[in-house]
Amino acid sequence: MAVLSTKLLLLGLLGYGMGAAAGLLFFKRERAANLLSFGCAALAALSNFISCVSALATGAAASSQSFELLPSLIPLVRFSISPDPLGCYFGIIVSLLGLAISIYSVGYAPGYYGRKNIGVLGGFFNMLLMTTTLVFLADNALFFLMVWEIMAMTAFFLVSYEHEHEETRNAGVLYFVLSHLGTGCLIVGFFLLYQASGGFAFEGYRDLGARLSPGIRTSVFLLFLAGFGFKAGVVPLHIWLPAAHPVAPSNVSAVMSGVLIKTGIYGMTRVFFDFMGNPPNWWGVTVLTLGTISAVLGVLFALMEHDLKRLLAYHSIENIGIILMGLGAALMFLHSGHPVLASLALIAALYHTLNHAVFKALLFLGAGAVLHATHTRNMEEMGGLARRMRWTALFFLVGAVAISALPPLNGFVSEWLTYQSLLQGFGTTSSLIRLMFPLSGAMLALTGALAAACFVKAFGITFLAQPRSDRARQAREAPGTMLAGQGVLTAACLFLGLFPTLVLKLFDPLTRQLTGQQLSRQLAAVDGLVLSSVVAEGGTVSTLGILLLGICLAVVPWILWLVFARRTRIRVAPTWDCGLRGLTPHMEYTATGFSKPIRMIFKTLFRPRREVQREYDFSPYFATSLRFESHVEEVFYTRLYRPMNQGALRISRRLRALQAGSIQAYLIYVFVTLVALLLFAL
């Protein structure tokens, strides 16, 4: 079994390689490039998916051996990978998304025919999936860094795919620079581990933390937190995310938001739980706090957006925050010596990672379909799409419900687990710190509610009511493959939401590897129908039960119809327009208007600016024309990054004076150096 899964894994990687090659070879023939590259990607992803799932389900992953992908022909580096439980789990994420998104892309790519080079898109898409998979599987620090960098670079090229627009170019550069800063931290971090263990193989790093001196240990933690934080988009390292995701092609945004930022989560889990051993308490506190901040700020900024894809990007920040809450709690429990609770929190975090990957990818694909149909990302120009793009609307609605953590879908399940671990965490310590758990739980509640508000806006303004522009009026439903891709993810959302106990079985090898526990049995009650929090009587939930119950209760209205409403008729009429001359789209509530109350309540954060110009004949209340502008400030950019950037440029310009062109000055430099060295040598 293990052999088989390994074979499938290698087959998948090979498939990605072939896809990349095919894309770049056939770059002259669009259709061929499209079918070949994305076809290969789909098949490869499928085989990887099967391999990873079987490895986890059969527990083969637990006994995985590290082996060399191919013999290394350069010194130091070993291309060695090991499909261990953690790697396999994230492998599931990337391959599941890879499958759905590749299918989707077959229908999405033709939108670029004649304008752009499909081969490049397909090729780099395959490369991205392959490198991401390798990041999850690599077990040699140098190899990890190599694939990590190649992954970042591939993503950079994909983000800058439509490089004709300056916005895209700047976003790409911003992303690449920040990602590379992160890599810098990682390099130092890994070499500190190398310093301590004398090797690059991950085996050598297992539980290394105990052997590190406190100073080194702290710096390693901070370096990895920052390094992976940049990639994951943790506030305040997040600003590349809302810039880069919207400008990328939608299938790429889906991969980036679904998988790419998860590499950060993977790295943190790998380092903090696998390498560092028993953490000091403040690590967990830091991570938990960062997570809470990211969650709340992420969703608040998302509410202010009316660019559909930017909105989704900000939600990625929010969900990364939720995941970090779980991780932080797990670290704190490890510290206070509650491995079971730690495993629960870890499972919550990682399950949410999977769920977020699924529904965020689904939403991005939906946004892509909308973009494909209306050629705009601006929600204010949309509306009425639910009647024109029925299936897309349905899929997007499912995604929206899931991401708002509403039962019975998967978002609810993982957040339920998070709540449980937080609440039970209260008992783990007696210090004041434990107040953090319920408080961050409350913040999680706030996040969820705001997310719901945000997606009422996103779905309502985009898909409901009358079209706000001709583009929206002429929108058509997306082609079959695109719908199929979304369908796969929708199914995944439902499955992950309704049958959590089945999925949680996969976590056993994982938790055994990281915390030495194994919870799937405690987590399942009533032969798997009900999800129960680990400790007895902690609380139970059964999404499937809720759904079935709701369906059963549907007899109530049915009976009512039979009793009362048999002879009623249904009339279709225009919406009530207060007696005006018909209702126009201008009278609809806009996205900006929808989020106005929130904007006002949190105005200290957003610092909104508005300009209103009103032209009227006799009374300001009957304006003939009105121009309204409203801006919200991205505090971290305007207060943190822009000043730093400008400072650097200013200093550099000052320095240019050194090279002023006068040969006398140059001679003086040499002279001074000579004299200085002579004195030094004396």
Binding site: L406, V456, L464, T540, Y589
Partner: protein, 317 residues
């Protein structure tokens, strides 16, 4: 532990038929306090029946979401209701989910309610949805924090267990944490059920209404479902308050018929008191401006936080 069908049926019927009566009585008492005669308490039933018989007008702009929303609103409220202990300490469906699931279900209902408000494309609906989502969002942390305080003391999120844990130790009723949490939840209740000072259920004045604004385009049986769902939701929340914080007189798991009757009486008494309190608050206060509501709710949050702090002081350290 396993759900027993008779309990489910009983509680479902109770929810269905008690809810309108409660809102009816509250309307009636309000009128009385305002020196009006007011409609009889059972008027609400008649209204519902009338709505159900009437023809429906659907907006031509609306999509399937508009017709789907009423069912969701109604059913989520009903399902959530089955997770709260009403007469028997053991809520019939506490197995399917505790307080988290209940709050989640109500949120799901609200989600679709808001979508239904947006769908016809009238400005009122949008305004209503926007305000509804905002207020519920800032009410959520207070609600959760208050619930957490009791959940932590009881060590579970299962409502029946929380109720029982307090039932057998009566002194915990007067535990400051509970009192504060109760106060917080009471404020949240006002907000969630759209009562003055947050919303005015009796008005259709466009500047003030929130909940009604979303229902403007609904008519006929859908309107009936919406109204009914709303009243059920209100009853569920009130039950949550009275039965979780003051689980006096809740019947045990296998109570004889008499025990059930006793607990029904106790329940009705508690409900009456709570309803009266709400009516008094409503009649003695004026509605707040929308941007004043956060102050009120932050008060609730602070109360809940204090409750948490006192829990910390009590909880063995």
């Amino acid at each position: 532990m396993n759900p027993n069908p008779p309990a489910i049926v009983l509680q479902t019927l109770l929810l269905l038929f008690l809810a309108p009566l409660v809102s009816g009585y509250m309307k009636n008492w309000k009128a009385k306090l305002q020196n009006r005669r007011g409609a009889p308490p059972w008027q609400v039933y008649l209204d519902l029946a009338k709505f159900l018989r009437k023809d429906m007008v659907l907006s031509e702009h609306a999509s399937w979401v508009f017709s789907f929303a009423p069912y969701v609103v109604f059913l989520t409220a009903l399902t959530a209701g089955l997770m709260v202990p009403m007469l028997i300490a053991q809520a019939p469906l506490s197995l399917f989910g505790g307080v988290l699931a209940m709050v989640g279900l109500l949120a799901l209902g609200r989600f679709f309610l808001a979508l239904g408000g947006l769908d016809p494309g009238s400005a009122f609906g949008g305004m209503g949805s926007s305000r509804e989502m905002t207020i519920s969002a800032i009410a959520e942390p207070a609600l959760m924090l208050a619930v957490f305080t009791v959940a932590i003391t009881a060590g579970t999120t299962d409502l029946s267990r929380i109720a029982q844990s307090t039932q057998d130790a009566a002194w915990k009723l007067l535990n400051p944490a509970r009192v504060l949490a109760f106060a917080a939840l009471f404020i949240v209740l006002l907000a969630e059920t759209g009562r003055i000072p947050v919303d005015n259920p009796a008005t259709h004045l466009e500047l003030t209404m929130i909940h009604e604004a979303m229902l403007l385009e609904y008519s006929g049986r859908y309107l009936a479902l919406m109204e009914w769902g709303a009243s059920i939701k209100q009853l569920v929340l009130m039950t949550l308050l009275v039965n979780v914080f003051i689980p006096v007189g809740l019947a045990g798991p296998h109570a004889p018929f008499l025990g059930l009757a006793m607990s029904l009486i106790a329940y009705l008494v508690k409900l009456t008191v709570l309803a009266a309190a709400m009516v008094v608050v409503e009649t003695t206060n004026a509605k707040l401006r929308l941007f004043r509501v956060p102050d009120l709710l932050s008060t609730a949050f602070v109360l809940a936080a204090l409750a948490l702090l006192s829990t910390f002081l009590f909880y063995g350290s």
